[in-house]
Amino acid sequence: MIPDNCASMHLLIQADVDGELEPAEAARVAAHLEICPSCARLQQRLLSLSSRMHGLPRHRAPELLREAVRTRLAKEAAGKGGGGRWRRAALGAAGVALAASLAASLMLFALLPRGDAMPDWIVAAHIRALQPDHLMDVASSEQHTVKPWFAGRLPFSPPVKDLTQAGFPLIGGRLDYLPGHTAGTLVYKRREHIIDLFIWPAGDEAFVSGSGARDGYNFVRWKAGGMVFWAVSDLNAGELEEFAALWR
């Protein structure tokens, strides 16, 4: 018996290995493999190559990239797309060439001001949290509920203060992922304004206390008790400083 022309079987054998064949075609392939040792060997090699390739590491998106994309999407959602501070870490020569060619075709490109990007991350995290259902992982006005909630979720224990008496009621807490840091975030309210207070352990990096504004949001940052604090809100700068002073 003359086997089906082997060359014509190759793509079918491959499609069979790839799980792309209808049962009838698969049966035809199986019948051919029964009588053709060389095609049977080919199938074995394809299967073995496939399984070796499945063992290759899949490149996962780096955290910084993931965060940059989230930030971009958050800005878009907040209606600030297009002109945003689109963070681009250390552009190489190739990146510059790419940027130039894309900028020409897209007219959408905005290079970041160099220097400290953290205010952008913080404000982006704050804006993201203001989207529906993102504000709090634990909703409680009770500091004795919020503080234990962080235990087991963070490798450190952020201080929790109740400032209800001073007009800044605590409403809850959540976790945030910022470049290089996992932050415990406390959520406070002042009238209808939400204040996010991001807290993480201070590292060795240079840190400058101070305040500023980004995209209409005010922030105050300081360091105390081995922790870094960032308060951000659309509250006016004066009252936000007042909030920070109560904490410091």
Binding site: H10, A15, D18, L49, R72, R88, A97, A99, L102
Partner: protein, 180 residues
């Protein structure tokens, strides 16, 4: 963001597929930093095009943008590297003519068949073969999705996969004993 009916939001398309997008970009441009740039630029492009996205396979839609952006990036890099090429080439030809830094596929597989060599061999494949194999074996996409992403007919996807695999299996005469 466009108004949404039953359609997923852009965020719902992008975030779950970010690893796949980066993996494809990384295998296509073979450079971690450039791959990040490609993904970021793809998101920007995607935002612009998303209004015209009319359903279908959102993952394939995104991957097609990533793929095209990666090729644009490679072509731009090529132009930057040797902007005085006398020959008039189309963008596609330029991409296909990118010299591969790695060993050729046969040589790479001739020794111990470990993951590192397989990786080198894959990196050394011509890009149009490499992308098919990455999408098939690493992303486990169907022929139909790969055809959508690469913009060629399914038959071409099949023959590219076949050529790619033959090259990877090539060294020991594997697949070569057939008279094709």
């Amino acid at each position: 963001m466009p108004p949404q009916q039953e359609q997923p939001s852009f965020e719902q398309v992008v975030l779950p597929n970010l690893d796949a997008a980066y993996n494809l970009a990384r295998w296509l441009v073979r450079d971690a930093q450039l791959a990040e740039d490609v993904v970021q630029d793809s998101v920007v492009r995607g935002l612009t095009y998303f209004a015209s996205f009319r359903g279908g396979d959102p993952r394939a839609w995104l991957m097609r943008i990533v793929r095209n952006t990666a090729y644009t990036a490679l072509a731009a890099r090529q132009q930057a590297l040797r902007h005085t090429d006398a020959r008039e080439m189309t963008a596609d030809e330029q991409v296909l003519n990118v010299p591969d830094p790695g060993a050729n596929p046969e040589a790479a597989l001739s020794g111990a068949e470990d993951a590192e060599r397989l990786t080198d061999a894959l990196r050394a494949l011509p890009p149009e073969l490499r992308e098919c194999l990455v999408l098939k074996e690493l992303e486990e996409l169907s022929y139909k999705q790969i055809a959508q992403i690469t913009g060629v007919p399914i038959g071409t996807v099949m023959s590219r996969l076949w050529r790619a695999r033959k090259m990877l299996m090539g060294a020991a005469g594997e697949g070569g004993e057939h008279d094709s």
